[in-house]
Symmetry: none
Subunit: 190 residues, 4 copies
Amino acid sequence: MRHRDDNKKEAIIEATIHLVNEIGFASCSISKIAKRARVSPATIYVYFTNKEDLIVSTYVEIKKSMGVALTKDYDPSLPIRDRLWRFWTNTFTHISRYPQHFFYSEQFSNSPFTSLVKSEELDTYFDPLHSTVRSGIEQKIIKDVPHDVLAVFMFYPILLLANHKFCTTFESSDDQIRLAFDMAWDAIRL
Amino acid sequence: MRHRDDNKKEAIIEATIHLVNEIGFASCSISKIAKRARVSPATIYVYFTNKEDLIVSTYVEIKKSMGVALTKDYDPSLPIRDRLWRFWTNTFTHISRYPQHFFYSEQFSNSPFTSLVKSEELDTYFDPLHSTVRSGIEQKIIKDVPHDVLAVFMFYPILLLANHKFCTTFESSDDQIRLAFDMAWDAIRL
Amino acid sequence: MRHRDDNKKEAIIEATIHLVNEIGFASCSISKIAKRARVSPATIYVYFTNKEDLIVSTYVEIKKSMGVALTKDYDPSLPIRDRLWRFWTNTFTHISRYPQHFFYSEQFSNSPFTSLVKSEELDTYFDPLHSTVRSGIEQKIIKDVPHDVLAVFMFYPILLLANHKFCTTFESSDDQIRLAFDMAWDAIRL
Amino acid sequence: MRHRDDNKKEAIIEATIHLVNEIGFASCSISKIAKRARVSPATIYVYFTNKEDLIVSTYVEIKKSMGVALTKDYDPSLPIRDRLWRFWTNTFTHISRYPQHFFYSEQFSNSPFTSLVKSEELDTYFDPLHSTVRSGIEQKIIKDVPHDVLAVFMFYPILLLANHKFCTTFESSDDQIRLAFDMAWDAIRL
DNA sequence: GATGAATGAGTGTTCATTCAT
DNA sequence: CATGAATGAACACTCATTCAT
């Protein structure tokens, strides 16, 4: 018996991401994905139970790798602001490197598929962010508002700035990234 | 000859918006919309040249009415911060009143259809925002960064906060709205 | 009460012929014809009971005008061969002048609509041909075979030769027309 | 994996031919063909890329088998007239055996689809005809006119005579076939 | 007479999925 | 494991025709 070919699974996921980038979510069909990944449509059903599973799994994969990238050099001994700065720049670097992954997750987040993701499964990857924010609040450095409100000013801006559909003028130069971070920091700091 | 029934066109647009809210953009088909609007699928093609036209037109309609709502009590004699505050609260009020319109435009913005909107056509509706930001910068009240970067901290946050998919804890109470505005203001003010 | 507008009826028929030439029989729809004729689809139903009627009537119109053209200078006092020669050249002249009509009738003849034409209605227009052939046989100048077999060699060749789909090399020069007539004459003469 | 069922492809082609005979080219839809062939409409797209491909392929298939039938006993050592006689009778035999194929190709030839056939692909099947005509001309037995003009008198008459829409009186008796051949021969011989 | 609105039935085609190999 | 064949259901869209004006 042959083993499951992880290359094949990965090829399918990569094909999904690229196709979504090229033709959009709605026009993305199993057969097109199969053609792009150079496998048979039936093969996709070896690795995923159905289209929904493929699309959600692809998202989860993207989010996981993003979580890993964000927190790769997490150092709880650093000051709050420096820790946040690292998250900020790591996010930018990661998005710049994998813009297609970013675009996919943007489309996914605004689709009804979102509700199918078990968020606990992903949350652990972003624990360092939560810890940092939590201690920031405890140390009276950061405003004492719910985490998701803070996220609106500290993390979503990166996604918006990196998205050329929304921000046509923003260039990911070091200067601009630092400037935007200062704005985010001004928003959340006490 | 029968005369054109504007109610019918509106019914089609409303059906589109509601369906997108219920089943999402991708699964939204002409025949489902027709059923929802209680017209024949063929009738949709009397009012719109094709599906794309229907979807884009619906978005434009939503955006226009949003623009009108935002700027309805625009008063250029007010201080910058007060003007922004009005935009902020108007947006919240409008989104709370028409959450479905809001959800539709969120999905639309993250779809490949976005590129089909002639943005100039809509821009005029949001001119007061641009003027306000511009004079804020001139008066050295607001940071001198590109408008879309400012928007990331001043306008998109409202959309995110109002979106219960992203912010599960945020309640649109007056207190919270004011608090969030303060954060936005801290981000952009000099 | 307005009178029936013959211009309008004619415009519809002309539009039908031209459209068939451009996009073919199968793709020819009432609404396209209406657009081409600059009338409303509903107007077509003022002049024709349905699509079938329109298509058959158009064919009949074409055939009638062809019959008239063929026999316009019919002179029963001329010798058989000269009479046939006039039919022959008249046909060529007419087809060259109205190639679109010719193409339409070719498509029509090979469709199941043909069976709907009351051939007697048209036959009278071609009586001179039949008389000529009949006296040719009686005078032992033409072979004594059924008229439609004679037609296969004396009349259809013109249609085929004039049809550039079948005959790519045939040029309607006087020489070639005379040469082809000689061949036809050789086939049927005793 | 299931293996491709050639019977299925043939069934689709046969269904196409028969339907065209029954209801005509224009009203022939994919779903009707599918129903006739007892397959799903989708299955047709396994074997043909689209409707056009199906229709053209069907024609090419018919033409090929006709070419083979015409030239099956081709013998270049026979006299010109005898060779032509064989083509003539072979054509008649073939058309009588497969009248539906004949009717299909007549309809096809007068449709806009004709232009899609790569004629070179088919020409080779009819090479013996061209050789025969060519040597007939060289030997000064046949008139020195373009091949397609000769075809108008030597080959198309068969199609017309066999077509009961055009020739209602012609019976495919040996006598009549021989008589018609004599007429054709008179037309082209020197 | 003339028309644009309106539609049920149909178009060609693609879909997600299953099946047999 | 891997696949091309096969399909019912759905897709966006157009059809010929009728209706109210």
